[in-house]
């Protein structure tokens, strides 16, 4: 590659990665939160025990968690086409990224909500609170730092997945590393890309930790 092209190529890759990760992270949070809440609420001893629903939901989440991302991505190509009209490009990559991350985040949400003390939930019940009130005003607010920490982990995982999404033309930094670094033996680009990815992950983790700490009142 011409050295003068490098900055613009890197910038484009970074923007594509950012697009894929930010959008899929937003969708993951939006979908993962309610699923995580349902996993906790419908559990035995939960606010509304529904063993059948819990078992089904748990099974679906586990299937999603056990598929390697690259397999999931290929397997759902028809679904991706249905949703976005295409299977190639950054927008198309958001679909498998989201589907891959939702079960992951849902489990983290479940763990975060389970960390809220039983006594606090019972106190709210003793006050005559409705279930929805308990979820919205007790469980979720009390778990906010853990929910943020979980989202941070998920975003980092998404950055990793997004590199694989490059394989279906999603673009991004991972794609750049594969195309220039691996296929064209351009070690320089490879190294720069890797360094950039490391910096981004560090930045995300640092920000996530800072926000979680800010929101924690322990």
């Amino acid at each position: 590659m011409n050295l003068s092209e490098l900055p613009s190529v890197l910038w484009q890759g970074t923007v594509e990665t950012a697009q894929m990760v930010v959008w899929s992270a937003l969708l993951t949070a939006l979908l993962g939160l309610p699923i995580g809440v349902l996993l906790v609420v419908t559990d035995r001893g939960g606010l509304r025990p529904l063993p059948m629903i819990k078992a089904m939901l748990g099974a679906v989440v586990n299937v999603g968690r056990s598929l390697p991302f690259i397999v999931l991505m290929v397997a759902i190509l028809p679904f991706t086409r249905l949703v976005t009209g295409t299977t190639i490009g950054t927008v198309a990559a958001i679909v498998p990224l989201t589907l891959g991350a939702v079960p992951f985040y849902a489990r983290l949400v479940e763990t975060a909500l389970r960390g809220v003390g039983r006594e606090v939930v019972e106190a709210a019940q003793a006050m005559g609170a409705r279930r929805l009130t308990i979820v919205v005003k007790v469980l979720l607010p009390e778990a906010v730092p853990q929910l943020v920490a979980g989202l941070t982990v998920t975003v980092v995982a998404l950055i990793g997945y997004s590199a694989m999404a490059g394989a279906i033309g999603g673009g991004g930094l991972g794609d750049l590393a594969v195309r220039y670094g691996y296929q064209r033996f351009d070690t320089g680009v490879m190294v720069v890309t890797v360094v950039l990815l490391v910096i981004i992950v560090q930045l995300v983790q640092f920000l996530g930790d800072a926000v979680a700490r800010k929101l924690s009142h322990q």
Partner: protein, 323 residues
Amino acid sequence: MYNLPVIRVNALRKVYGSRVLALDGVDLHVREGEIFGVLGQSGAGKSTLLRCVNLLERPTSGTVQVGGRDLTALPEGELRRQRQRIGMIHQHFALLSSRTVADNIAFPLEIAGMSRAQRRARVAELLDLVGLADKAGARPAQLSGGQKQRVGIARALAARPKVLLSDEATSALDPATTQSILALLRRLNAELGLTILLITHEMQVIKSVCDSAATLREGRVVEAGGVYDLIATPGSLLTRELFPLPDPPPAGSLTLTLPIGRADEPIVSSLVRTYGVDVDIIGGTVEDLRGRSAGRLRVRIGGERAAEALESLRGRGVLVEAA
């Protein structure tokens, strides 16, 4: 002085799974305006009993009436409304760490659908009531244990309940803080006419605040009544717990339970002087029960006029039992 029972628990049974019997036919009557203590070791079922009163735990059979309404028969929506009228405080305070002190206290008012302005006014009153007006904006993590329980109490009283349930509310506190929380409960009982049902394993709690007490063992009430009445009852378990004496008692020794409010009278010395008997004091405990002294002595009385001496003790209201 007292009216009808405000809490009436009848034939309450709670079985966990198919075999663990937590409550085995408990009857309990808590009268309006009294502080009623349920005493028991851990595992005796007292926590289950308390949680059955506001139906956090649904009894296997039996009924729970609070303020004349059978809670076990209410549909869910109505039960929630009744719960808003029953305050509860918890061993580990159960405050929301994400909320300020003021917002914690406001929580039951939000549930009751009170407007923001009304909530603010009520919270200010409650903060004054428990002496935490300067902590309104603090988070629970910034408070001491005693302060946290004061917030818990303010929150429990926010919706002006007539009944307060206390689940080992002082068990996580040091002795001095325990006393200040107990004094607060006593004050609220007197000032607001609040009926309090508490469970505890600490004798100190029974001594300092309880008008009535029940002892729970293996899911059954083995003894219940007014604290002063129980002390005057021969063979009372509560008396034995309140005034521990050295065990085993030596042969021929007697246990004297002194009449309430007169434990500081010179009973023994007057006995010696009047009847010329020998009195060996083997052990004794005198306690202050809500401002009235009470106590128990283990003695051996010898001498020719010992029988007469015992008769005179009985005449003075002393309960004489073979140890």
